[in-house]
Symmetry: C2
Amino acid sequence: MAYTYDFPKADLTTDAVVFGLDLDAGRLQVLLVERGVDPFRGAWALPGGFIRQDEDLEACVRRELHEETGVEVAWLEQLYTFGAVARDPRGRVVTVAYWGIVRPDQVRLRAATDAAAAAFHDAEALPPLAFDHADIVASALQRLRGKLRWQPVGLWLLDEVFTLVELERVYAILLGQPMDRGNFRKKIRPQVEAGVLVPTGQQRKPPAGRPAALYRFDEAAWQRREAEGAAFEV
Amino acid sequence: MAYTYDFPKADLTTDAVVFGLDLDAGRLQVLLVERGVDPFRGAWALPGGFIRQDEDLEACVRRELHEETGVEVAWLEQLYTFGAVARDPRGRVVTVAYWGIVRPDQVRLRAATDAAAAAFHDAEALPPLAFDHADIVASALQRLRGKLRWQPVGLWLLDEVFTLVELERVYAILLGQPMDRGNFRKKIRPQVEAGVLVPTGQQRKPPAGRPAALYRFDEAAWQRREAEGAAFEV
DNA sequence: CCAAAAGTGTTAGTATTACACCCATGT
DNA sequence: ACATGGGTGTAATACTAACACTTTTGG
């Protein structure tokens, strides 16, 4: 073992900030677990845990997330690495934080391993969090807002087919402010022309009023456009 | 030690991508060290090394940077954490990458510890790099370009006092394209009005032509504006 | 025919771009 | 006087925001 070093090491964990977007209630939430072990037993925290030697960072966060909450999320992005010396009372623990977003009504929560419970909490009214997890959530919120205007975040939250008004509602909730219908469509139009948003020809009937045209998201077309430097602006 | 875990751990390093902006040559460079130890002995790599138990991530990267190159950089930002399982032949090593930018003519290179040499290399023509450091550099370049338009990156590269034409030249090099003088000043004007760029009343005489007004950067004023959500657009 | 919800158009204000012009200095 | 580099102004164009209007459905 010519390359081995021998001095006290820092430990490495991953944590996940999983936002939940409740389309009906129009609220943004955060997935938390109630800790079943010390330290911070009984407090709410982000799902996460120690990395194994043979797994990638993202694999680790997905495993921990699934173990502690039962949730699997389609899209996860690395957020930031938090490594303040005193952030964990167990000793020197550095954590790589990831964030993602899901529809709470499309996942089944199931607490397990060292989590006593798992639940979505309103992002505007979070309970006190363990470790420096409040900082991590704040950082994730900032990233979410920034990402929204360039990446098709809203589309990852909708069903296979959706209407433009539904898409608009998603953005209104995520940005925390109502949008102008006409202007929203103007921004979206280039995406339709580029084939990123594809009209299916089908319609969906609302409780009252004119039926809405259904669209689907052509992810491959988006990948191509993104490679060319195009953005998904709203 | 109730909270101690005992399984094979991942090791943690930090690496620094320090860009050098040569104002005279108009080139962007990257600070590299020639490795003096295995693995990759003799290859060029980013300065960096293992974290100690009692130091923050940023403290670590600054220490390693100073030890291996003699360079101290005013501003460093976390870039991304690279953790692919096989990225290091020594075993499981995860690295937290930082990036920063300096003027090569304002630092004194001095290779030491496990680096055989330290030098700036042209960003467009880097030698083959150790580990996954080529990926890290590519990622840093992307971040630099993205950051430019919102943060006063250009100002961190100038002397205490500077002219607006000098500032414009910095941006032209960083963005890789010439700028329109008039339009650049129009973008800058709000920063002058907000007190972020302060005219000193002094002038600097060029080799020929009209003397240029000197400005200084009021970092505190910028912090205030930034907190209010303002950007430093160019 | 009316209410509700989807979808379109029009206009005023603002920001961006390209380019021409003026100013201060050394030779 | 003129070359050199610093500094300002303007007109055309593109983008944005606000709001009014039209279309399609169910009762």
